[in-house]
Assembly symmetry: C2
Homo-oligomer: 339 residues x 2
Amino acid sequence: MTEVVVRPMNGGNGLHSYSKNSTFQRKAIEAAKELINKAIAEKLDIKIFSSSNSFKIADLGCSVGTNTLLAVQNSTQHPEFQVFFNDQASNDFNQLFTSIPPNIPYFAAGVPGSFHRRLFPNNSLHFVHSSCAAQWLSRVPEDVLDKSSPAWNKGRVHYSNSTPQVMKAFEDQFAEDMDNFMKLRAQEIVVGGLMALILPGRLNETPHTEAYLNKAFEQVESSLIDMAKKGIIREEKIDSFNIPIYFASLQEVESAVKRNGCFSIEIMENIPHEKPQPKVMSSTLRAGLEGTIKEHFGDEILDELFDTLVCNKLEESSLITESCKSVGLFVVLKRKPNE
Amino acid sequence: MTEVVVRPMNGGNGLHSYSKNSTFQRKAIEAAKELINKAIAEKLDIKIFSSSNSFKIADLGCSVGTNTLLAVQNSTQHPEFQVFFNDQASNDFNQLFTSIPPNIPYFAAGVPGSFHRRLFPNNSLHFVHSSCAAQWLSRVPEDVLDKSSPAWNKGRVHYSNSTPQVMKAFEDQFAEDMDNFMKLRAQEIVVGGLMALILPGRLNETPHTEAYLNKAFEQVESSLIDMAKKGIIREEKIDSFNIPIYFASLQEVESAVKRNGCFSIEIMENIPHEKPQPKVMSSTLRAGLEGTIKEHFGDEILDELFDTLVCNKLEESSLITESCKSVGLFVVLKRKPNE
């Protein structure tokens, strides 16, 4: 099995930390709050946990920061709850644990590991929440890094402005990862248990190039290309790098769920995402992508890349990005009985 | 409720880290390994988890380092296991999580919080392991810091060489903490579940002054007194500081278990502790006490205190300490049915 790509959000509590630069993701959670409450009220069968002693919740791809705790507060209104905060082992769990307030109404635990792998025992979870996480692929599709493949993504680091072959490779990788993700979660979630997924994505009718987040990622790509032109980074470094993220539509998620067969779709809707100001957006991009970019290009380029180039490009392109749609996908799945 | 004292072991992987300076504690675990295997084989009723999906293990006061993982390997030989590593929120969980090897045969989770508080849902654990942790008291007994009390521990930071009143105050605090610890764990452990406790302690017939670890702590005390005499620290700082640790005997643990009433004693024995060389012992003391001492006296005294003074005193007193007994307490308790 290929090693899962590791790229946690920026740790700590400093200027470039994810904790301080995740208003965008926070808004997604706030928008989903009412929807999750409604889903729990209407879709959760209380019988699934009457035989067990406690209600077990997992937050997959929790990262670090107040969003993590906010998401969980949304769903805890009853006594004995155990909440598992999951993210990769390299996530800043120290920061997360010390920011848990005293006297929380649940038992907290941290679970290190990629959600592209098994994380919990069989039938041990009642509710899974994952916000702004499952858009991260388990890896960059092999073909886009293969010089001999028609899907080689030469000179680019993102798929949205690229060839149909590159786009297809990312689309397929997302479908494969989603299928695997649901297979794993189907083992961990009790029959009748719910899974709420919030994903940054695009509207069904919107092509990749017109989705706001793709436009934002294209500014990162174009900034890296500028840096290569100026000789700050080598061009081959761009050829060998791709951001392992894909922005799906509800249609794609629906197909993946149906193909997988372990879950029924209970709720599925788009939630509007506010588009942040260029400065805020470049910080958001930095907090999320810094780890991945640093690993490949080194950390000396980060300040110029995000704080100057990406920020300027976002400002320059604000008229274009304004017309782009920014949406989240909100999907609630229920674990079907085993056949 | 009084706030529980927070003093995690030194984090990271550096020179003074707990991870690199815990051979002493490691030996305790190795010595207990066979005993724990035997306890599980003979004392664990397989029926207690046949109805559940997985066997849930908690390691309380896990700290950071390979000991944590070693202790757990000792008890995992079957398929679906979930292991909860617990220590205070300020423990270095990042270091712990990144040191978990790939392909471990269990699902790992970290649980932040003091074991003097509730950590898990009702009836959610099958086996609890706690090594070299429960000797830490929830707080320094109030009286020993109270100038108006006959138990005021003026001019000292440890109890073993002090007045009977001080000794009694620590003895009572240990009894109270043990009772509370068992009340909490009795809620968390299923009926029939086991709890293995390993504590550094002393033989039943040995007075506190003749226990090796007390002698070692007295060298820390006497080094601090030397520093106060030299004007490096203020004398009042010594009056207002006590190490919140108590070395009990099996007799004391037995009384606490019987008074508490929730557990039966399945195994209870002394395990021999090897006495480390002075240099190793001063590093062991530093890794364990540094956090507590730094908080009160500041970090500028640490090098001189441990690496020079304590180390020299341990060397000078090696003839005395050689005659002292160093033992661990090994106790396996079983959760009794509710009456």
